[in-house]
């Protein structure tokens, strides 16, 4: 199964590692332009209100204020902030400024001033009169008849042919069925029907959203953006402002993390308008508080699962019903919801499957893409119910999973039925190391062995969850790369793909180096700049290694052909056929004779000697499959029966991501995702008051896990080879966030016998559930 590589599958140093730790990595905010102005956004204190009047005169008169933008003086253009391919599968329900505010934190007016302090002063002088409307916060209430209508404007629409009924707060709907669910469920020996709720959470990247814009010497607009999607950023900015695409350049420098929240075009429209109006450089940076309230969150969801199984352990029928809360705007509303089904249901072999998904508008913070993208929410419900079904049958929960999980060569009707805004793509599983993952995890956690607690009032338990994700969006997403050769035998690798701290610059350099017979030290990666790098959809859907990696591989192959062609024109290789040539040690070599030519000589010959040309190529790639990575998460917990506190003792996460191009970086993605998931499962929580105001928008009161909270974490990479991926690679970045909620919930059940169906598993919640059980 494994193949021999030279650069790939090696943990080479991260190409930007030294620069980052030395503090040289240049982020958006690391430049200070002369005369740069600052933006501050006045936001709505109401969850739902019409702006009756807005008076900016006093604020405009304040010294140091340059301009103030509101819905009265900025064009109203329906668009979506979701940075997705065009036309987006998200509704055009957002305007740069709106007449009506739809959540606490919605845009009202942007002040552009000399300093942030002046802008804040000016904000206080803006007089806004609101007509407060009744608000609705729960998606179940929002879709009831008579609920306040959130998008009652006449000009919102969705640019693709799918269900969209804003007149009843229904932002998206999908239903598909394979086989006959009702019949199969009714005929099953064992039936379990449960509703789970997964809660609000924020991505908490180290670097909040930031954008700096300025006019260049040719009066083109340059935007330095902390973004996962530079090309979508350029397109959507053009759409909102009317500036032609040719006049916009988006630069993505080093990025301090995204996790999906930077798959949004959140700041660029306002910065662009501000630059146009003032002719000056303008900066807009969100504070952590604004990041929590006004940027994007995970979609909270009710997920109802019904599973029917036979006593022999065979699953007959599965139904998943999702009610997703997109908040005030429908960013990723349809696709996150449909991903619940498409990334979770195919995991189990079953002929009768029904998926039903609704996404509702509410007057809550706006949800968007977040690592896991629906699979996190759905896997929580699914993996808890799977364990419950196994227990009802009387089978070990791991054995039940082993019996039913999908294997190499098998397909699922869901792949074909459920896509992103349209039907999916039929596919069968290629590489699948799930069985090996389970086996490794079982051994590591000592499945079946009950350990004694550390103190008499504590109880121990173990839990499991198995998972799959995808690798890119098939037939929709495209990545491309450009490679050119230099005289010293090095290569520039230009990519639209965005390294946001993930290490993709390193991974993609390794792929290029492997093909070109050189080392990653001779590859100079650059990502991304819409003026210089070819198009790429950006970093999302676990796609960069699989999708852009293939584009890099193809491009490098083209460059290799050109190198062979040049070699053939050079003296020593006159008599060698191209079929005999290969690249190794930065040289062209021949299999039959022992002659070699260095890359340096090749490039110098191509540039200066004869029939001169630039050795260079650009290739694009789309995928026809979205091969899932697999993992099995195991956890051991100790629950304190006096306080309800759940301590994680050990967490085990073996992952099959195909060939790990850079094993340490792949493992880092796993560890990061696991911690991200545990934090979501145990402590992260939004608190709202009855008016929809978030009460804890800071790290003092919104708890993310710290180093001392880490359990013993064991990860490993299970070796498989995905034939459709570059050097056998699949994705790794998202999958491991999905395990903590269900695995810990299952472990809590094993420890103290209570099933917690909503996160986070705080001491109170666990304690109160235990009290209930006693009654």
């Amino acid at each position: 199964m494994s193949k021999k590589f030279k650069v790939v599958k090696t943990s080479v140093e991260k190409v930007d590692g030294y620069s980052l730790v030395a503090g040289r990595g240049v982020f958006v905010d690391d430049i200070d332009l002369p005369g740069m102005l600052q933006i501050k956004m006045l936001t709505s204190p109401h969850a739902h209100a019409v702006i009756k009047s807005i008076n900016i005169k006093k604020a405009e008169a304040l010294e140091g204020v340059h301009t103030i933008m509101t819905h009265e003086n900025v064009p109203r253009i329906p668009h979506t902030t979701a940075g997705q391919g065009f036309p987006e599968p998200s509704p055009y329900d957002t305007y740069t400024f709106r007449r009506k505010v739809r959540f606490v934190g919605d845009r009202v007016a942007a002040v552009v001033a000399e300093t942030e302090e002046i802008a804040e002063e000016a904000m206080k002088l803006i007089e806004v009169e609101y007509d407060v409307l009744p608000a609705v916060f729960d998606p179940k209430d929002a879709i009831k008849e008579g609920a306040p209508i959130i998008h009652d404007e006449e000009d919102c629409y969705i640019p693709i042919p799918v269900a969209y009924e804003p007149e009843r707060n229904l932002c998206a709907h999908v239903d598909v069925e394979a086989g006959d669910f009702d019949k199969a469920y009714a005929e099953s020996d064992v039936q379990v029907d449960r509703e789970y709720y997964s809660h609000y959470a924020q991505h908490c990247p180290m670097e909040p959203h930031i954008c700096i814009g300025y006019p260049d010497e040719n009066d083109r607009l340059v935007l330095r953006v902390s973004t996962q999607v530079p090309f979508h950023s350029r397109r959507i900015t053009a759409q909102c402002t009317g500036i032609p695409i040719r006049k916009i350049r988006v630069i993505k420098p080093r990025i301090g993390g995204g996790f999906g929240t930077k798959q949004e075009v959140l700041l660029e429209d306002v910065v662009a308008f501000a630059v146009m109006r003032t002719g000056r450089p303008v900066r807009w940076a969100l504070t952590r508080k604004e990041e929590f309230i006004s940027s994007r969150t995970r979609h909270p969801q009710y997920v109802n699962i019904k599973i029917g199984a036979n006593k022999d352990g065979k699953i007959n029928a599965m139904e998943m019903k999702v009610l997703s809360n997109t908040g005030a705007y429908g960013s990723h509303a349809l696709t996150v919801m449909s991903n619940c089904g498409s990334k979770v249901l195919p995991l189990y072999r079953c002929k009768n499957i029904r998926f039903w998904g609704d996404t509702a508008y509410t007057n809550m913070p706006v949800a968007g893409a977040y690592r896991g993208y629906g699979a996190t929410q759905a896997a929580f419900a699914m993996e808890c119910v799977i364990s419950e079904v196994a227990q009802k049958i009387g089978m070990d929960t791991v054995e039940f999973r082993k019996m039913n999980h999908i294997k190499s060569g098998e397909g699922s009707p869901i792949f074909e039925k459920l896509g992103e805004g349209k039907e999916g793509v039929p596919q069968t599983i290629g590489s699948c190391g799930l069985a090996e993952c389970i086996e490794w995890g079982e051994k590591e956690i000592e499945w079946g062995k009950k350990n004694p607690p550390s103190e008499p009032h504590k109880r121990r338990g173990k839990g499991v969850a198995i998972l799959m994700q995808g690798s890119s969006v098939p037939e929709i997403d495209m990545g491309s790369a450009f490679i050119k050769m230099n005289e010293d035998g090095s290569f520039n690798l230009l990519m639209g793909a965005t390294d946001l701290g993930t290490g993709s610059d390193t991974v993609l350099s390794q792929i290029a180096a492997e093909v070109l017979g050189t080392t990653e030290k001779f590859i100079i990666p650059y990502s991304s700049d819409t003026d210089f790098t070819p198009f790429d959809v950006g970093a999302y859907a676990s796609s960069t290694t699989y999708l852009t990696g293939s584009a890099v591989l193809k491009t490098a192959e083209k460059v290799k052909e050109q190198i062979f062609g040049v070699a053939q024109n050079m003296g020593p290789f006159k008599d060698c056929s191209v079929d005999e040539m290969y690249l190794e040690d930065a040289q062209v070599k021949c299999k039959t004779c022992d002659k070699t030519i260095s890359f340096s000589d090749i490039c110098n010959f191509a540039m200066y000697a004869k029939d001169q040309f630039q050795i260079a190529a650009c290739e694009s790639h789309i995928t026809h499959k979205s091969p899932p990575p697999f993992t099995a998460h195991f956890v051991e917990v100790e629950v304190d029966t006096m306080t309800g506190k759940v301590d994680l003792l050990k967490y085990v996460a073996p992952v099959d991501c195909g060939t790990p191009i850079n094993p340490i970086l792949a493992d880092g993605q796993t560890q990061g995702a696991v911690v991200n998931g545990i934090s979501f499962a145990l402590t992260e929580e939004y608190f709202f008051n009855e008016k929809g105001v978030m009460l804890n928008p800071d790290f003092n009161n919104y708890k993310i896990l710290s180093t001392v909270d880490m359990p013993e974490l064991k990860t490993t990479l299970i070796d498989t080879y995905e034939e459709t991926g570059p050097f056998g690679a699949k994705s790794v970045s998202e999958i491991s966030i999905n395990g903590a909620l269900p695995a810990i919930a299952n472990a809590i059940y094993d420890a103290v016998g209570v099933r917690i169906n909503n996160g986070p598993f705080t001491p109170e919640k666990v304690y109160m559930a235990m009290k209930e059980l006693k009654k």
Partner: protein, 282 residues
Amino acid sequence: MKNLQLIKSDNLSELLELLKKEERKYNIIAGGTDVMVLLKEFLIDPQCLYDVSGLSELKEILVDNDSIEIGSAVTMSDIISDSEVSRYAPVLVSALKEVGSPLIRNRATLGGNVGNSSPAGDSIPALFVLNARVNIVSEGNERSVKIEDFILGPRRNVLEKGEIIKSFVIDKMGTDERSFFLKAGSRNALAISKANLAFRFMLKDNLVKSMNLSFGSVGPVVIKSTMIPQLFIGKKPDPGLIDKSCSLVSEEIKPIDDFRSTAKYRVKVLENLLRKCLDEFC
């Protein structure tokens, strides 16, 4: 952030003199681990800050026959690593170990934790059971108040204009005394208590000779239990007494619902924490 004047001195009398004359709104700052957060959240709005962290008079730990005096500007890390405090006031060390994180404890001081007068301040219940007295100084004046009289309400205390906390005098616990500090929080570091308790007692001939008990995070101020010690003193602890004392918890505390926790949970968890302590001496 707006302009703020920071006034720092290495001379106590000079600082007290300046403080007496000060007409602007001020706050006292030592490690800054509370003040900086309060400033950032606009919960205080001073025009200047008086920094006491440079005053050597406030940075001493003095031990005599039956008490320990701890300067208000001694950092929590220094208290934790002091061998005499560890030996003679272990409950204070246990409590301080629960505060924030190592980084915070390297800066935070006992004076700051008490001066901030939060009902969730972890050191305060421990100071309660150690019968702490707060020494307060101002220009030309000194006074001393009991810790339970020092704190008036959430973030309110008896400090008058011009006064600062100089030190705390606590009991030296006897070798036959035992103590506990227990806390329920949401994670292992940087978690504000949902509920905590400090407990100190002495058994002699199987009878309870003395008992001090206090609860934190479950009312507007830290609460000193009176009913539960009364129940035990002079008696031999048995399961019946323990059950009865746990049922008294809800009468002594006044917890609230906030987003850190619910009142109901706080009562239950304190009952359990108390039971854990009491089980130890049965």
